[in-house]
């Protein structure tokens, strides 16, 4: 994934599974993660297959993550400075 338009929004640092990642404030968290190369967001329940954001509009629920301790859909969550994101680790 790659941003192709000029982006003046502030760059902020967020934590993802303990790693610091740079992202644009207000970006969709799902997009921010993909821009940082993090496409795999969970493992499927039976096969343990890699899964990531699919619909980017809040329907498919593939992008549900822990954000600051609460379960949120990454594609519906705007990036905020200092946000702490954890991949679920639960099928």
């Amino acid at each position: 994934m790659k941003r192709l338009v000029q982006d003046e929004r502030p760059l902020v640092a967020i934590m993802v599974d303990g790693d610091s990642i740079s992202a644009r404030a207000g970006d969709s968290l799902a997009t921010a993660l993909a821009l940082a190369g993090r496409l795999r967001l969970r493992a499927s329940p039976n096969a343990g297959a890699p899964r990531g954001a699919f619909c980017h509009m809040g329907v498919c629920q593939e992008c549900v993550l822990h954000v600051d301790g609460a379960l949120r859909q990454a594609c519906l969550t705007p990036v905020r400075a200092g946000m702490a994101v954890e991949l679920r680790g639960v099928p």
Binding site: L4, E8, S28, A47, A49
Partner: protein
């Protein structure tokens, strides 16, 4: 009652419904999960992202947002609607927790969502929907990858490919289920909307100029990669969507944008137990409506793609009509005035029908494509249920969709059967005889998953209205 009318969904249909009813004197609440009006088709850009290219759609969206802001409609954005009860009561999670609005009339304008007919590897990270791609391109200024393949069927194919090119990105190929002939056959109907056809042709020219490889009459047979998409395999298909003889081709790709039409999100009308019928052209089970948008439930109306796929132009008009009808039925608009305003709208809808039907036809689910799904392919993403498990469940006695759910967990995951439902129903229908027999998921709350925390709000144990003890 807090309002005279509640409108659910602020896309072209809902926003227009709300404004029209408000102009007729009703006190209207308009609820949407997004932060502003526009729905999916006219989604507003991310705040602060100013570098996005200008487009006709963006202008339409901005115009809508300006009009709604200037109206008297009670705007409730950022609301996740989770419960709709008869009479009508709507519960939604907003910034302050759970909110309730009540009104004697309700308009459901909840839009449509992506349909993707599964194929091996479609669940790999890097594979996204076509509508998903438009979100990334139009409101976020992002291209899905460096080597993007756009595939599936319908008008979104061209729109997405052109959108990526317009941003300055590359499209590695377009894989269209339809053949050139199918598009040519649709041309006369598409020509009834010259402006839209012109826009589409402009996209086609752009794609041609960029020399994007075009593969008509082909489908993605498989997506492959370890942790994410690395390559795709495409194969020729017949007019019905089933694989045909001919060479397969493999391409490197790091992003696949794929979609096979849209499914109407008729969850609110199903929840309220309105009568529905199966309409393949309109995308699936849709509420039974009269010409004005009335459902079989008193004072419940539906419009826009959520009530059956008709596209944005008809959505706007149907929205105005539903708002008008709601106002009339509530006694706010005398019959002659109502007819005066409604008749031109009905005429506009009629004129837009050929284009709308042609588009819907290109996007409609092809049964042969579903029949061709390989056995080990995941159909229900949430619960990892494969096609062969669905077939086995039918053998074991599951003859309708709700029964299938009990046998396999297909549809029990958090997407609530939205991603898999249409395809699972089509698989069952091929065995039980019809989509009507296969049925649809029973409508239940919550309309979307909602966090317990937000639902409950702050409370003390003594606040809980515990009923009388069970008999001993």
């Amino acid at each position: 009652m807090t309002h005279d009318l509640i409108v659910l969904g602020a896309g072209p249909a809902g926003a227009n419904a709300a404004m029209t009813a408000s102009q007729a004197g009703l006190k209207v609440a308009l609820l949407d999960e997004q932060d502003g009006a526009g729905g999916q088709v006219w989604r507003q850009p991310l705040p602060g992202l100013t570098g996005l290219p200008v487009s006709a759609e963006a202008r339409s969206g901005d115009a809508l947002r300006a009009r709604i802001a200037a109206s008297k409609v009670d705007l409730r954005f950022g609301r996740r609607i989770w419960s709709v009860g008869g009479g009508f009561r709507v519960d939604a999670l907003g910034p302050q927790g759970n909110e309730t609005v009540e009104a004697p009339s309700l308009i459901a304008a909840t839009g449509a969502h992506e349909r993707v007919v599964p194929f091996p590897g479609w669940t790999l990270p890097g594979v996204i929907g076509l509508a998903a791609a438009t979100v990334l391109i139009k409101s976020q200024g992002v291209t899905p990858g460096r080597k993007v393949v756009v595939a599936g069927c319908g008008p979104l194919l061209v729109a997405v490919a052109a959108g990526i090119l317009k941003l300055g990105g590359d499209v590695a190929g377009i894989v269209d289920l339809a053949g050139r002939r199918d598009w040519l056959a649709a041309l006369p109907s598409l020509a009834t909307q010259p402006r839209l056809l012109g826009r589409g042709l402009g996209w086609a020219v752009k794609i041609g100029a960029a020399r994007v490889p075009l593969h008509f009459g082909h489908a993605v047979k498989a997506a492959q990669g370890e942790q994410a998409l690395e390559r795709i395999v495409i194969a020729p298909v017949g007019g019905d969507g089933a694989y045909a003889s001919g060479a397969e081709m493999t391409f490197e790709a790091d992003a696949l944008c794929i979609g096979h039409g849209l499914v109407p999100g008729a969850e609110v009308t199903k929840l309220l137990r309105a009568e529905h019928r199966f309409d393949r052209l309109r995308g699936g089970f849709v509420p039974v409506l009269d010409a004005y948008g009335r459902t079989t439930v008193e004072r419940l109306f539906a419009c826009g793609d959520g009530a059956g796929l008709r596209g944005a132009i008809i959505a706007e008009q149907a929205g105005r009509l539903a708002g008008l009808t709601a106002a009339h039925d509530a006694g706010a608009l005398p019959a002659d005035r109502f007819a005066q305003i409604a008749d031109p709208i009905l005429a506009a809808i009629s004129r837009a029908r050929p284009f709308s039907d042609a588009m819907a036809g290109i996007m409609a689910l092809r049964p042969a494509q579903v029949a061709a799904i390989a056995p080990e392919t995941v159909v229900c993403r949430c619960e990892d249920v494969t096609r062969s498990e669905i077939d086995a469940a039918h053998e074991a006695g599951a003859h309708d969709l709700n029964q299938l759910k009990h046998f396999t967990r297909c549809g029990m995951g958090p997407c609530q059967g939205r991603m898999c439902g249409d395809v699972a129903a089509e698989l069952l229908a091929s065995k039980v005889g019809s989509r009507e027999r296969a049925g649809y998921w029973t409508g239940r709350p919550p309309l979307r998953p909602v966090p317990f925390d937000a639902l409950m709000g702050a409370f003390d144990y003594s606040d809980i209205p515990i009923p009388e003890p069970a008999p001993l």
